[in-house]
């Protein structure tokens, strides 16, 4: 089952995730299913509310599903994963907040980096490539942004980079002028921005308007396709680290299929959904069982290769907590396109 945000605050992310997974499931079914069986999938909207997420999760469990995809929002995952844990059902999530896998739940698996794993890469980049001595951090005041902010501040500290400013913005904030003003006043060597796509676009536009000229660094959500579409030329020059990007060569095919199917560009959430479905397939095939315990066991502490499972797009490894590791990218936006400037290897050698 897919328990995702299809209405409320997380709609955009949830819809992408759902679409990605749907695409993968259709492909898998068209190719004969998993171990000869077609996948049935139910979609459930959490309305971006944990209470409903919980209802949907128990509903999915009542219907004896093999695995649960989602939710994307960290708060909702926290609720739904306790339920899926009780029922021994593997639960794939798109959330990045660190605490998701800190609960010691053997059935939770990420489809994207834990913030505490992605941020070191960004911090390294700022320290070595940009040689920044001070950084101003702008983040969106929700669990996603706050978690990222906490992680990066820690990493920057570890590298002796000064946090010259710590600026929060509201989810859905429209007017970024005061935030940009504060960014300028911080007078740091670089800006690290960690906001959702829409707000990122607005921030970039306002930065451009007020003539900000320092390096602008971010994570996935600062330079996704959507941001570039919304911010236009204002996105040029943005760079940073992404775990998943539709513009990397490995995702080109997927991108094209997604665009054809849904008339919209996929973002990292779309990839996560797509990946999750194929990951489940790989795990079931490895476990040779649809039993939740067996699937989970097949994934813990093990790696999967693209050459065996083309759908997972990149080689991945899971650790014992369900955190994911895989290659990632350094990118820069040039002429309205995201360009990959470097591939970063997995953090741990598996």
């Amino acid at each position: 089952a897919q328990v995702v945000e299809l209405s409320g605050g997380g709609t955009a992310a949830g819809s992408q995730y759902r679409n990605g997974a749907k695409l993968a499931i259709n492909e898998i079914n068209a190719a004969g299913g998993i171990m000869g069986k077609k996948i049935e999938s139910i979609e459930m909207d959490t309305q971006s509310q944990p209470a409903i997420a919980k209802a949907m999760t128990v509903k999915a469990i009542d219907e004896k599903v093999t695995a649960i995809f989602g939710p994307v929002f960290s708060g909702s995952i926290l609720v739904s994963q306790t339920e899926s844990q009780k029922a021994n059902i593997p639960n794939f999530t798109g959330g990045e907040a660190s605490n998701v896998t800190a609960q010691g739940n053997p059935y939770i698996f990420r489809s994207s980096f834990n913030q505490s794993m992605g941020m070191p890469k960004v911090a390294n980049y700022m320290a070595t490539d940009l040689k920044a001595k001070s950084v101003v951090v702008a983040y969106v005041n929700n669990d996603f942004g706050k978690g990222g902010r906490d992680a990066i501040v820690k990493e920057l500290g570890a590298r002796n980079i000064k946090v010259a400013g710590d600026i929060s913005t509201d989810p859905g904030q429209v007017d970024m002028s005061s935030a940009v003003l504060r960014i300028k006043q911080a007078n740091a060597d670089a800006l690290f921005a960690y906001l959702n796509e829409e707000e990122s676009a607005r921030l970039l536009k306002e930065l451009r308007k007020q003539g900000y000229d320092k390096p602008m660094v971010g994570e996935t959500t600062l330079m996704g396709a959507k941001v570039i579409e919304l911010a236009g030329t204002a996105a040029n020059g943005v760079r940073g680290h992404v775990g998943l990007t539709a513009d990397a060569p490995a995702f080109k095919d997927f991108s094209a299929k997604y665009e054809k199917e849904f008339k919209a560009k996929p973002d990292h959430n779309g990839i996560k959904g797509y990946f999750s479905a194929y990951m489940l397939k790989a795990a079931i095939e490895k476990a040779k069982s649809t039993d939740g315990k067996a699937i989970a066991a097949a994934m813990k502490n093990s790696c999967f290769k693209v050459k065996d499972n083309p759908g997972i797009l990149l080689d991945v490894c899971f650790d014992d907590k369900g955190d994911i590791d895989r290659e990632s990218f350094l990118v820069e936006v040039k002429n309205g396109k995201q360009e990959v400037t470097a591939m970063l290897p997995m953090i741990n050698k598996h």
Binding site: L6, S168, D170, V174, D175, S178, R182, E197, R202
Partner: protein
């Protein structure tokens, strides 16, 4: 100082946007005695209408005209016929809940039928900016302010200086007597909603470049506009402009100099201060004598 001016200016531009949305509320209150919780969605719909128009190859101005026509038809005539008329005399709260339902319905409808994602929207004033005394100003900021001013003055004149405008107010205040005096009540109500339809279309044209076309873009607009309308005075169109600009500016100043975390609370604090001191809003006329 430049920083301060920059903030002030951005605030005024933002405020103009709030004001335009607030204007619709004051209109519906003065001329139809209704509160429309779907007003934000009423702005969202023309935005999408224009988006669809443009995706079919129409230029922006042509899409705008189409959107206005559609708005008058759907948000004016159909809304009046299917929701306002049947609910006449059933009390403000029932109407409020109906428009709440409508707001949920319209949002979800656009989401399911079009897309859940935000879409960029071109500005009629372009993206250019110019500098004045160190302050960066964009043409769309100026445009929004000018339009808001024009709309406010125009609406105020229409409601108070023309006999049709006054007849519309009369209908809102006392439908029974209006009917007994031979005022064409149904037509007046239609005018009200048709004007509102035009207002929201213009608003959509001006604010969507900033807000981005998204199914839930109305949430934020609606709320701020309400506070702006009440701060300025619900029964006065000029109040909407004053209220909007006050909210816009103070929000910006608070975001920069106080705490950005409570930026959204600024409109509220201002609002509370105003209603406690002057319950009818800054420019509102006092309530009627009670006994």
């Amino acid at each position: 100082m430049t920083d301060f001016m920059q903030l002030l200016l951005s605030g005024v531009a933002m405020g103009a946007i709030y004001a335009m949305a607030a204007l619709g509320f004051t209109l519906l209150w003065q001329a139809a005695g209704t509160i429309n919780f779907a007003q934000g969605e009423f702005v969202m719909l023309p935005a999408f209408a224009m988006l669809i128009g443009m995706s079919m190859g129409l230029p922006l101005w042509a899409s705008f005209i189409v959107a206005v026509a559609l708005s008058i038809l759907v948000l004016g005539a159909a809304f009046k016929k299917w929701i306002v008329d049947p609910m006449r005399g059933s009390g403000v709260v029932s109407v409020v809940v109906a428009t709440l339902g409508l707001s949920i319905g319209l949002k979800s409808f656009v989401k399911a039928g079009y897309s859940a994602e935000p879409h960029p929207f071109p500005s009629i004033f372009g993206d250019e900016v110019f500098k004045l005394a160190g302050v960066t100003i964009s043409y769309s900021d100026v445009g929004a302010l000018v339009f808001a001013g024009l709309m406010v003055v125009g609406l105020q004149m229409f409601l108070n200086k023309t006999i049709t405008g006054r007849a519309m107010q009369a209908v809102a205040q006392n439908t029974f007597s209006a009917e007994a005096l031979g005022i064409n009540v149904k037509r007046m109500i239609f005018y009200t909603f048709a004007i509102n339809a035009i207002l929201v279309s213009v608003t959509a044209l001006l604010i969507t470049p900033t807000y981005l076309a998204k199914f839930d873009m109305g949430d934020n607009i609606g709320l701020k506009a309400f506070f702006a309308a009440i701060i300025g005075g619900f029964n006065n169109s000029r109040g909407a402009l004053l209220g909007g600009i006050l909210v816009g500016v103070l929000e910006n100043l608070a975001g920069a100099y106080l705490t950005p975390a409570y930026k959204d609370g600024v409109a509220l604090v201002l609002f509370l201060a105003v209603i406690l001191v002057k319950p009818d809003g800054l420019l509102g006329t006092p309530q009627e004598r009670k006994v």
